[in-house]
């Protein structure tokens, strides 16, 4: 009978007063001793519930057992059999609503820190140069993957491991998608992303940067004259949404995409060693309540803003951001103005943000998402003293994906229409997965979609399904 250890091992982390001034990782990570102490807590359930919560079905008790035994290479093998990017998942997955939520130990005590252990094993592997599995003989089939974010990287890695020739087309000058431009350095170090991308390259995947599909080549050309047998669309949801309120085009108003891209991809926090600038702001307002909003506010503080305030129209309970990231933001000094919605941004005579008018909200009846709908309280308008505003209210798929892709079905929300199980779109030989299908969601669900699509593409490439199956 396994011993019950009720409490988790403490994760060493940078103190808030220190970390709000640097871009280094907040959670420092386990060492072998801490990792084994945490691994001991796993009850090795005969019927593990945790695996059901994992979008990529990692054999969780399996890899944790290897850590317990000190067989690190074995742990890597089990982990990477299901997940090609574990160093990323271990850091950014919302485990608390996935594997850890179902943990049997978690029913009465603190769940096993599955994510932290995944990170530990993945980092151990990266430090040793990431072992490449033996690859099967080439099948001679070629797949074009559009986008090098989590969906594309996972799909490409799985297809490469099945022996197919894969080319990823990435529009930016660095691979990784949101992993590179969106999620900040202090949550997901870019060196880690590059190491994971390198692993995918080592599997034989050709990553072509600065290649925008829809302009440089089209999907129809890839399937036609370029002779690819299949195309996977993992172009994400990169189109920024704005509120449409007056003053939104004033100097000093950013979409979160721009704010984070300047900061993380272009390293504006190192200006002028890096050439891309960003407005630091005395008083920054970040509109939104998701992870992107938290990331933006925490970046603003690190860039040197005097104050960063989250402005969110609903309340604590409805905030979609990970609890851990909200706590981290609070500890770092981010101010929260909830049940508040902007109505107008004021600009001075030179076109700069000089303030923002907001209105207080109250929660009414639930809407289709099940969350209570926020309703403005008449007459409750007030002005906020801000000089930089970041709109982090969501993103939707970039419509460029439809250019030159004849017959690609589109939903009324602007996402690609596809079967969630297989990833098949309405266009034969074209699959899709991740945010381009679902709208902005998580890294891990994109990976799950990439995996499922890769399996279906493989069936197609082997002739088990044909274009006739596109009903």
């Amino acid at each position: 009978m396994a011993k019950v250890i009720p409490n988790r091992v403490e994760m060493p982390r940078q103190k808030p007063e220190v970390r709000r001034h640097n871009f280094n990782e907040v959670a420092v990570g386990f060492d072998m001793e801490l990792a084994q102490a945490e691994a001991e807590r796993c009850l090795q359930c005969k019927k593990p519930r945790c695996i059901e919560g994992c979008p990529v079905m990692i054999d969780i008790p399996g890899f944790i057992l290897k850590v317990q035994e000190g067989d690190m290479a074995g742990a890597v093998e089990v982990l990477k059999a299901s997940n090609s990017l574990p160093a990323i998942c271990g850091r950014v997955c919302p485990q608390e609503t996935q594997c850890e939520e179902l943990c049997v130990l978690g029913k009465k005590h603190e769940p096993v820190a599955i994510g932290r252990l995944e990170r530990f094993v993945a980092d151990w592997d990266l430090a040793r140069g990431a072992t490449i599995p033996e690859l099967p003989p080439p099948t001679g089939k070629r797949v074009a993957v559009i986008g090098s974010g989590p969906a594309g990287l996972t799909c490409a890695a799985d297809l490469a491991k099945m022996g197919h020739e894969v080319t990823i087309f990435e529009s930016l000058h660095k691979a990784g998608g949101v992993l590179m431009y969106g999620i900040p350095e202090f949550r997901l170090p870019k060196a880690i992303v590059e190491a994971e991308v390198d692993y995918v390259r080592k599997l034989g995947v050709d990553i072509r940067l600065n290649s925008i599909i829809g302009r440089l080549f089209t999907v129809d050309e890839l399937l036609g004259e370029q002779g690819y047998n299949a195309v996977f669309l993992g172009t994400g949801a990169g189109l920024p949404l704005f509120m449409g309120i007056p003053g939104e085009n004033c100097n000093g108003v950013y979409s979160a995409n721009e704010f984070l891209t300047r900061t993380n991809l272009m390293k504006a926090y190192l200006f002028p060693e890096y050439d891309t600038p960003i407005k630091i702001g005395r008083q920054v307002a970040v509109v939104g309540g998701g992870n992107v909003a938290m990331d933006s506010a925490r970046c603003a503080l690190r860039l040197g803003a005097g104050e960063a305030t989250i402005v969110y129209r609903r309340s604590w309970e409805e905030m979609p951001a990970r609890a851990e990231e909200v706590e981290n933001a609070e500890a770092e000094g981010v101010i929260f103005k909830l049940l508040t919605n902007p109505v107008e941004i004021y600009g001075d005579e030179k076109g700069w943000v000089s303030g923002m008018r907001c209105i207080r909200m109250e929660l009414g009846e639930p809407d289709e998402s099940g969350r209570r709908r926020p309703v403005p309280i008449e007459g409750s308008e007030f002005d906020m003293d801000v000089d930089v505003v970041v709109m982090a209210i969501g993103t939707s798929p970039n419509p460029m994906v439809f250019t030159g892709t004849e017959g690609l079905g589109r939903t009324r929300w602007g996402t690609v229409a596809a079967d969630e199980e297989t990833g098949r779109t309405t266009k034969p030989q074209v699959w899709a997965g991740g945010d381009v299908l679902t709208g902005a969601a998580t890294v891990i669900s994109a990976m799950g979609a990439g995996k499922r699509a890769a399996a279906d593409i493989d069936r197609f490439l082997r002739g088990e399904i044909t274009v006739e199956d596109w009903a």
Partner: protein
């Protein structure tokens, strides 16, 4: 890839680079642009296409040394490589048989207007070109423009070459004399020049196409940095443009947004000039 194959000084601060980019060269059309980085630490900047050779697999860009990035770019030579080049971006110019059209190129805007005039000529249009610069040193490609135009008016602000005038003067005259003949006008150059060209043509009711040049980061529609207001609606110049109806553009907003990083740009240029002397 992205190797510099040729370099030319067109004017004291205006340079031309021919860059190896076979896939871009095969696809690019007049009116489109590319986004480049000069180095690993470099920022991403847009440059409109000035010419291309689909067979040889190269593109030509013309730029003016205005800040750190363009100044740094100006120091590269044949054999050097750009850190990255992405394209073709933006919507190409709508080339059709319109009839008689006017193409106005102001300063460095002469470069992008050239391939547009060339394509319009090939489509059977009668081309009246007006090119202008502050002085004779800053003028370039008069020969190329003459080659693709039926009529050419050259002017300089100071009268050191051609007619002493801003481009808006001959533009107005052409419209006054032959407004009924002119189907469309293209005007490319600094924002203020495009603004005044649009104001000049508005009373004549001639559709005027401009190529907007806001600050950009990705150039693919994912950040919104390049947002402009056209006909009261917010548009992203990189995916909805870069060409728009000049009569509907909020010019003051465009020019205000072009000034967002003036302080940082000044710091960066000073630092570059200081450190490149050492």
């Amino acid at each position: 890839m992205y190797e510099i194959l040729a370099k030319e000084d067109l004017a004291p601060i205006t340079k031309l680079l021919v860059i190896e980019a076979p896939d871009v060269a095969r696809k690019v059309r007049a009116g489109q642009f590319v986004i480049i980085r000069v180095s690993e630490e470099g920022e991403r900047i847009p440059l409109t296409i000035a010419d291309y050779d689909r067979q040889a697999g190269n593109i030509t860009i013309v730029f003016q040394e205005a800040g750190k990035t363009t100044t740094h770019l100006g120091t590269l030579g044949v054999g050097d490589r750009l850190a990255s080049l992405t394209g073709p971006l933006g919507n190409p110019t709508e080339i059709e048989h319109y009839g008689t059209v006017v193409c106005v190129g102001g300063g460095v805007g002469i470069a992008p207007i050239y391939p547009i005039a060339r394509d319009l000529k090939e489509a059977g249009n009668r081309i009246i070109s007006i090119i202008g610069a502050r002085n004779r040193e800053l003028l370039f490609w008069e020969d190329r423009i003459r080659f693709v135009s039926d009529e050419v008016i050259v002017c300089t602000d100071d009268g050191s070459y051609g007619r002493k005038a801003l481009v808006t003067e001959p533009l107005k005259e052409v419209l006054e004399e032959r407004g009924h003949e002119i189907e469309r006008v293209w005007a490319i150059g600094p924002a203020i020049m495009m603004k005044f060209c649009s104001l000049t043509t508005k009373p004549f009711g001639v559709k005027t196409i401009v190529s907007l040049n806001p600050i950009m980061v990705d150039g693919t529609g994912m950040c919104g940095c390049c947002r402009v207001e056209v006909d009261g609606k917010t548009r992203f110049a990189c995916v909805h443009g870069p060409e728009f109806d000049g009569h509907l553009v909020d010019w003051d907003l465009l020019m205000a947004r072009q000034r967002i990083y003036l302080d940082e740009e000044k710091r960066a240029l000073e630092r570059w000039l200081r450190t490149s002397d050492e």
